[in-house]
């Protein structure tokens, strides 16, 4: 455990890092989608349109902070805060470089899983408090989706825990010195990634907001910075999931020549790029198909993965 005084600079650095990451991401996503879709994307403000980030933030901040009169006021305001807070809390245990962790908890992995589960409250509350039928449907979808996908999200990483013998993220990274866990745990990696995308509500798992069905789903009634918090929450969540994938399966900060932090960032960026590519490429399954896929395909697969990993581990070590 770090002592509080030395932790503060790390906290500040991590927070700043995440926010600038998320902000750049909003721009990068739009530019990348533009390139992949034969169009420009935002390219007017500043070089390559990077200034768009700033303009967007200013716009969100100076927009009227509007709460619809029919909404349930307090939960309506709390909901966007929750998602931002829990997404940020997850980073408390992510090791971006050796020793550069706000708090390398013994149960770091469980902490991330637990914290990210809390995110569902934000969306359910937002959907419920908006007092709008589209939002309600979005909230319901989200609840069902998060609960189902969390089950095997947790199961899929147990293989990693077995191999490394620790819940501590730092130790998990250290355990990958000889080989990244993506090799022995390829299935686990796939399952975790799919569940991770579902957790962040990115296409093809964006059913809670499914623009073409539910207008904007759970955040239909939100505008201004409250909407902005949902959006930042989603992007921070994306960074978190990418960081987790990198930490658990791709050796975290490990890599030759370059400093550990750079390696970590490069890997995280690669996964974020993959997420954006998925968004550009894949259509959205139907709600019941998504559920069926989760329970009938992903859950048995993750159980199988768990059993096989456990069996092999025992066979090797017994």
């Amino acid at each position: 455990m770090n002592n509080p005084v030395t932790a503060i600079p790390i906290i500040v650095a991590v927070l700043l890092g995440i926010f600038s990451f998320a902000a750049v991401l909003v721009w990068a996503e739009r530019r990348l989608l533009g390139i992949w879709q034969d169009r420009y994307g935002p390219n007017r403000v500043g070089p390559l349109g990077v200034g768009q980030i700033l303009v967007d933030v200013v716009k969100l901040f100076i927009k009227e902070d509007w709460t619809p009169p029919f909404a349930d006021r307090i939960p309506f305001i709390i909901a966007p805060c929750i998602i931002l807070v829990v997404s940020l809390l997850g980073f408390a245990v992510i090791p971006v470089a050796p020793g550069a962790t706000i708090s390398d908890l013994n149960i770091g992995l469980l902490f991330v899983l637990a914290i990210s589960s809390l995110g569902v409250y934000s969306i359910m509350l937002g959907g419920y408090a908006s007092n709008n039928k589209y939002s309600l449907l979005g909230g319901l979808r989200s609840a069902a989706q998060m609960i189902s996908y969390e089950v095997f999200m947790g199961l899929s990483v147990m293989g990693v825990v077995m191999l490394s013998g620790s819940f501590k993220l730092g130790e998990i990274v250290e355990a990958q010195q000889s080989m990244w866990f993506v090799v022995p745990q390829f299935l686990g990696f796939l399952i975790f990634m799919i569940a991770g995308i579902a957790e962040t509500h990115r296409l093809p798992f964006d059913l809670p907001e499914a623009e073409h069905e539910l207008v904007a789903g759970f955040h239909t009634e939100y505008s201004g910075m409250k909407f902005g918090m949902f959006m930042v929450g989603e992007y921070v969540g994306m960074v978190l999931v990418s960081s987790m994938i990198v930490t658990l399966f791709f050796g975290g900060w490990l890599g030759p020549f370059l400093p550990p932090f750079v390696w970590f960032s490069v890997k995280v960026l690669a996964f974020i790029g993959l997420f954006i590519l998925l968004r550009a490429a894949i259509p959205r399954p139907r709600y019941d198909q998504l559920m069926a896929f989760g329970w009938k395909v992903m859950l048995p697969l993750s159980l199988l993965n768990l059993a096989v990993t456990g069996g092999v581990w025992l066979w090797l070590h017994a």
């Binding site: 879709q37 296409l203 073409h212 259509p283 198909q289």
Partner: protein, 616 residues
């Protein structure tokens, strides 16, 4: 009913019988009668009902037209719908003509309002028109909803626009105009312009009343608020919603996310296009047609100019026919590309729509080079097209023909073979051929069910019989098949365009006919008669001979036609626009019951409608 009305009625009836029995008297009437009786369809009718109840009418489009009295109409219609072999299983159109100001009505029974049923038998490949004369004081006729399901909306429209009541209709409410509208807009005594009415003002009371009239009450929509111990949720999808493709509203009765009932509500895009047809010259109405199916561009001009040319007796040169076909097929591709992109987008695939809009832009480049316009070139003219093809058109078209096929192949991989798209659209919203016919579906909606019905093949117009192309068919009539039929249609359109390119005939781009508009100008400075002719045709517009005509074409979204009634004037007496989208939207409840919201979106996307085409 007053005594006077009664005697009026019986006078009308007597006149009807007189007409029916005196068919063989006069010279013209006899010729008329003989031509009429020679049609095998009429022979069957005579055999079944006898001669006394009918009056024939010859129209220039050669669609057999029969007048029937109101008391016989149900018998006659159910004979055609059910009893006759190869029955008329589709109610192609149902409309009304306000005859009160019409002058040229020789040999037609007297009537104030005429209800016109246009039926189609796909087995016989034949249209049939049945008319009922009604008097203004007694504008009531039996509903035919029990015979053809799609009569429901058509009769509501007729009520809305003409005030003709249909007895036995389950839900005879206004459909296009708001519930508070005063009068019936397509009646001749209803003002057509704002300047003919008092200035509009909206007092606070009136605003309240208007808003109150829009209050949602499930029972009004034929829905139950609760069933057993379940309360249903009502979801108002539209009129503004990302996936309803315009201003279209569907009221959903939901049990969870499952659709118990879906009731479409249309009329938000109604612009009175038919009314405008009655005050625009024949020529100046062409731009209005472009905006009916606003993705179809000159595809809309075609049925209109074909109908006017038929009335005027204009034969257009070969070059005109081929130019028209080429442009129309380019627009078919453009429209299908928009469909293709938005279809995949509505299923959640983000990118294809952008690629397809790029391709559509290439089509527009060609259209722009040829006509100067893009989406609405209004480029066809009565008796020809606006200009000859520009130099270098062939190079542009050839480039496009080389460019497009690989793109389509690419999209096959991206969209049609995508497993999620397949999962989302296969078996969703499927209809059988019988259902499609009884709902009046046409175009890809009908062909996706496996029925080979393409007007370009069955009743070729504008020279389509000279072209080689296939009619792609589906099997299951579901969303996936509807999409794949359209995708294949784009390939066939490319085939047609390449034949246009290789075989473009030389010759004039306008017919040499006095009613061609704008008229040929070569001789205007040589003799006074042509100068006068030119002057009047340009300043007042052409005078099209009296008559009735309707030429259905295979438009981008299905069968489209303009039923034109001319009273020998510079304007149409009645312009009826039969659009495919109107019929298709009516099928939404049938297709979506028991499915989920996401399926409804896929179904709406697969119909490929344009709200302007629905509401007109």
């Amino acid at each position: 009913m007053s005594e006077e009305v009664l005697s009026d009625q019986s006078a009308a009836q007597q006149a009807f019988v007189r007409l029916a029995t005196a068919k063989a008297s006069g010279g013209r009437a006899r010729a008329n009668h003989e031509k009429w009786i020679a049609q095998p369809l009429i022979a069957e009718l005579l055999q079944r009902f006898g001669a006394a109840v009918f009056v024939a009418q010859l129209t220039v489009d050669d669609i057999p037209t029969v007048w029937v009295q109101r008391k016989d109409v149900l018998d006659v219609l159910s004979f055609f719908c059910k009893e006759i072999s190869s029955s008329f299983s589709m109610l192609y159109d149902l409309t009304v003509i306000d005859e009160r100001l019409r002058k040229h009505r020789e040999l037609q029974p007297p009537s104030d309002f005429t209800v016109v049923y246009t039926l189609l038998s796909v087995e016989r490949n034949q249209f049939l028109r049945i008319k009922i004369p009604l008097q203004a004081e007694d504008a009531v006729t039996p509903s035919v909803v029990r015979l053809w399901k799609n009569a429901n909306w058509y009769e509501r429209e007729a009520w809305d626009m003409f005030g003709v009541r249909f007895e036995g209709h389950p839900n005879l409410r206004r459909i296009l105009l708001p519930p508070t509208w005063q009068g019936h807009a397509l009646r001749k005594d209803h003002p057509a312009r704002a300047t003919e009415m008092d200035p509009f003002s909206l007092s606070a009371e009136r605003q309240d009343a208007e808003q109150e009239a829009l209050r949602f009450n499930p029972e009004d929509w034929g829905m139950q608020p609760a069933h057993d111990d379940t309360d249903f949720m009502f979801l108002n999808l539209g009129p503004n919603h990302p996936s309803v493709h315009g201003v279209f509203r569907v009221v959903l009765q939901l049990d969870g996310e499952e659709i118990v009932e879906a009731v479409p509500d249309i009329g938000y895009h109604h612009r009175g296009a038919e009314k405008m047809g009655e005050r625009q010259s024949w020529h100046s109405y062409i731009p209005y047609t472009d905006r009916i199916d606003y993705l179809g561009g000159v595809m809309n001009n075609l049925p209109y100019v074909l109908a006017v040319e038929k009335l005027a007796g204009i034969e257009v040169p070969e070059r005109v026919k081929v130019i028209r076909i080429m442009l129309v097929e380019l627009f078919r591709i453009a429209s299908h590309l928009v469909f293709y992109g938005t279809f995949s987008q509505d299923i959640g695939q983000m990118s294809p729509v952008f690629y397809m809009f790029v391709d559509r832009e290439k089509v527009f480049h060609i259209i722009e080079a040829i006509s100067g316009g893009r989406m609405h070139p209004s480029w066809f003219r009565i008796g020809g097209v606006a200009h000859d093809l520009p130099k270098g058109w062939d190079r542009m078209v050839r480039e496009f023909l080389d460019y497009m096929p690989p793109r389509l192949q690419h999209y096959d991989k991206m969209v049609m073979r995508n497993s999620i798209i397949r999962q989302r659209t296969r078996g969703i919203g499927s209809i059988s051929t019988e259902e499609a016919l009884e709902w009046g579906a046409s175009g890809a909606m009908l062909r996706a069910t496996g029925l080979n019905w393409d007007v370009r093949k069955k009743q070729p117009y504008s020279g389509y019989d000279q072209f080689e192309f296939d009619v792609p068919l589906g099997v299951n009539g579901d969303c996936y098949d509807r999409c794949s039929v359209r995708v294949e249609e784009m390939r066939q359109s490319l085939r047609i365009i390449s034949q246009c390119l290789e075989n473009m005939p030389e010759g004039p781009y306008k017919a040499k006919h006095k009613l061609t508009t704008p008229p040929p100008k070569e001789r205007t400075m040589l003799d006074i008669e042509t100068l006068i002719q030119h002057f009047t045709t340009v300043s007042w517009g052409p005078v099209i001979p009296a008559g009735e005509v309707c030429i259905p074409i295979e438009a981008t979204k299905g069968m489209n036609s303009y039923y034109l009634v001319s009273d020998g004037n510079t304007m149409a007496y009645r312009t009826r626009i039969r659009t495919p989208s109107f019929a298709h939207l009516q099928m939404i409840p049938t297709m979506s019951r028991g499915l989920m919201i996401a399926d409804l979106i896929a179904i709406i996307a697969s119909i490929d409608f344009v709200m302007a085409d629905v509401d007109r």
